[in-house]
Amino acid sequence: MTTPTPRQPLHQSPRQLPGRTPLQSPASRRQLMGAGGGLLLATFWPAPRGGRAQGEPRPEPGMLAGPARGVFAPNAYIRIATDNRITLILPNVEMGQGIYTASVMLIAEELGIDMAQVDIEAAPPGAGAEITGGSTSVMTEWLPLRQAGAAARSMLVQAAATRWRTRAEDCTTRSAMLIHVPTGRTLPFGAVAAQAATLPVPQKPALKDPATYTLLGHSQHRMDSALKVEGRAVFGMDIQVEGQKTGTVAACPVEGGTLADMNRAAALAVRGVRAVLVNPSNTAVCVVADHYWAAHKGLRALRLQWHPGPNAHVNTQTLYEQLHEGLHGPAIVASAKGDASAIIAHASATHTATHTATHTATYQQPLLAHAPMEPINCTAHVRPDGCDVWTGTQVADRAQATAAELTGLPKDRVAVHCQYIGGGFGRRLEHEYVTQCVEFARQVPYPLKIIWSREEDLTRDRYRPAYVDQMTAALDDRGFITALTHRIVGPAVVARWDPPELTKDGYDEDLSVATLVTPYTYPAYRLEFARREAPGIVTAWWRGVGGTRGLFVVEGFIDELAHRAGADPVAYRRAMLAQNPRALAVLDKAAQAAGWGTPLPPGRARGVAVQFAFGSYMASIAEVEMPEPDAVMIHRVTAVVDCGRVLNPDQVVSQIEGGLIFGFSAALYNEITLEGGRVQQNNFNTWRVMRMNETPRKIDVLLMPSTEDPGGIGEVGTAAAAPVLANAMAAAQGRRYRTLPLLSARNGANGTEQG
């Protein structure tokens, strides 16, 4: 027998942040949404104090290192030590989207180093992107990360040229070596790092000609593959700090309710249970124990009783009724071009017995949970002189600010250690679990890890809102749009998440994605928003944000119009895209690659969707079979992507494959329902996730060559999933699918949703 000993060393004990001044960069959501950001997030930093000691062993590739050291620190992203060790500090968090790899590629390309020569560190709050989300990372980092690499390279070259008493023009860099081209002499970067550090930082360094790229545009393996495959990647869930205890949490299952009663003694009697904690607002309880199972048993033993509070009456039916009611009455006008309403009214009044010149349809989509594979968790150690937080978060700055506020500590005494994220999908743009963890951890002297059960994760999520949309078109005699009105009814997520970004009229511009911002142009157009906040639910961002929401409606409606006109859905869209060559090109290529128009085996049908969102174009075609009205098999999906210049082609393909499957799961199966204010889905037996036997047999992703600036990619596939599938199912069944999830009873075979 051996004494149980952890195989892995305990996580590094809490350390202080190096002394950095927080970056004052109010990255607005508009910038987040892709209007660029330039150097906003790439201000130049003084070198950190402290950091790893000389002689400390190199971390494994992809393993997040502690604060970087290095004598040469030309900017926020790069540290080079005299022993030639190179650390890159990456501003965005890795949650599966491949951003660590892409970020390293951007710097390495300009700096002249190999991917394998790099140690990586997650940027601490104040020094990284404020937010990782909205598929914006590559769009915002494309320029600053290359500039960071180029500036460092220029300084190293200058230092080497001085050393060699030659001209900088005669020197180049490769594999972290400086090379004097005429003589072939070489020096490692580290040998001139100290000298380079004394040189001025060029503010506008020359960038490489993209034609000479050796990394960018060529598929590179992910930096985190081996770590993750061997089970050594450290997620928030895996944090083990000296002296740590583990807690599990139950919050009132009805939003706004409070704790009424509990059997504290019964919980404390469970072997291994150390404490029963209640948060200051009396809305959540944490049982702390030596390990999760004891905490879990303690939580059960509490037999919690809740005052359900004001939302005890909320149920799904009233939620949808409230949304449908918003189709009538006043609304905010988000965009108006021409007098669409008048054209529609006129067309409606002049219809003949054989020809109605307007078409109206109402779409409905449900509340959605995120359900990342890694349940919500956070570890915090609150001490009189400081606070450490270890977690996976897309908003480290917010987490730090909250922990500082709760503890009363200055921000520079609050360290947030960003870990690998076991799935974000927008869930970790929320940080209420950090708040909760710090509130509990303040009550105990030891580091406290809280782990939510999957039941807590699903029933206390912050949900993608439910929406109802209505579109009406006036049509010419060929069935093309002469005027279009679109009313969206639902919450304004931004009003809570980033209040200043709500427009003065009360509009949430996220709702314009894939609606107002579309590859199509209409002669007359009106977009309205009737805001209805969901009672008893906190609403939040979800992968694909406005794009996922809007594309289901718009591409479904366009498909209806094509069908109504008796036109082929691809040909109908082609006619509408004559002025948009990038959209037209992806559509044509998708049609060709998918064999659009070629005969299919009996029982199969195809559907198409075209999109412009997150700065990228995509056309997708799905081939489905529906052996029963409530069963669908997805045989094949073809997606053609124009995301501008492609940085890491295989990872773009991977994001589209995975994004589609994530979206298909929700489109087919998922709907959060409420009864008595309580969420009714609580684990993967009631929240169905697509499994391998249900995934398409084949997903072909083709990338268009482009020299345009890169667009986002992490949410593009998800946005396409519902519309392309709904349109294929409509073709298979000869009826429309206007309600999500597609296999919902409300989409019954009798077509009750037909408008």
Binding site: M1, F235, Q240, T246, G272, M373, E657, F662, N683, T695
Partner: protein
């Protein structure tokens, strides 16, 4: 006090016998590769091997394991050809995204290939459908299992 054979070593663990193996691995022994995903054997993130078969550690009480030999991702023999081929295939095809489910996927795939050296798509789907991946890496998992099977041929 249950005695467990984990990765070839016997451990006396001072926990109640109803404690699921998952929490003994993670919170008592510090073996973190095996992940918590659902707690009710629905997602497969906690897949380990018991006597070579894939089992879910989250609802396997340690009191029921008896003489069963448990292996986790940490305990894979680096020289084991199947384990090596599976992990190499996962890296070669860049299967992972967030990676949280992948230890369970890898353990399920190794158990499959030991039982069925050259599985068809249908056999892969059948063996792997108990393992959820929210990032949607299923296409690559399927391809990587074929890749590994080919490398072992």
């Amino acid at each position: 006090m249950p005695s467990l054979n984990i990765n070839g070593q016997d451990h006396l663990v001072d926990v109640d016998p109803d404690t699921p193996l998952l929490w003994v691995l993670r919170d008592v022994l510090g073996l973190n590769a095996t992940k918590f995903g659902c707690g009710i054997a629905q997602c497969g993130a906690c897949t380990v091997h018991m006597d070579g078969r894939a089992v879910r550690a989250c609802n396997l009480p340690v009191g029921l394991i008896g003489a069963g030999r448990i292996s986790t991702l940490e305990g894979l023999d680096p020289a084991d050809p199947v384990a090596k081929a599976v992990q190499a295939a996962w890296v070669a095809l860049d299967v992972v995204q967030c990676g949280y489910c992948q230890p369970g996927q890898v353990m399920a795939a190794i158990a499959l290939l030991r039982a069925v050296p050259h599985p068809t798509d249908e056999q892969i789907d059948s063996a792997m459908s108990a393992n959820l991946c929210r990032c949607g890496t299923y296409m690559r998992i399927r391809a990587a299992i074929h890749h590994a099977a080919g490398a072992l041929a």
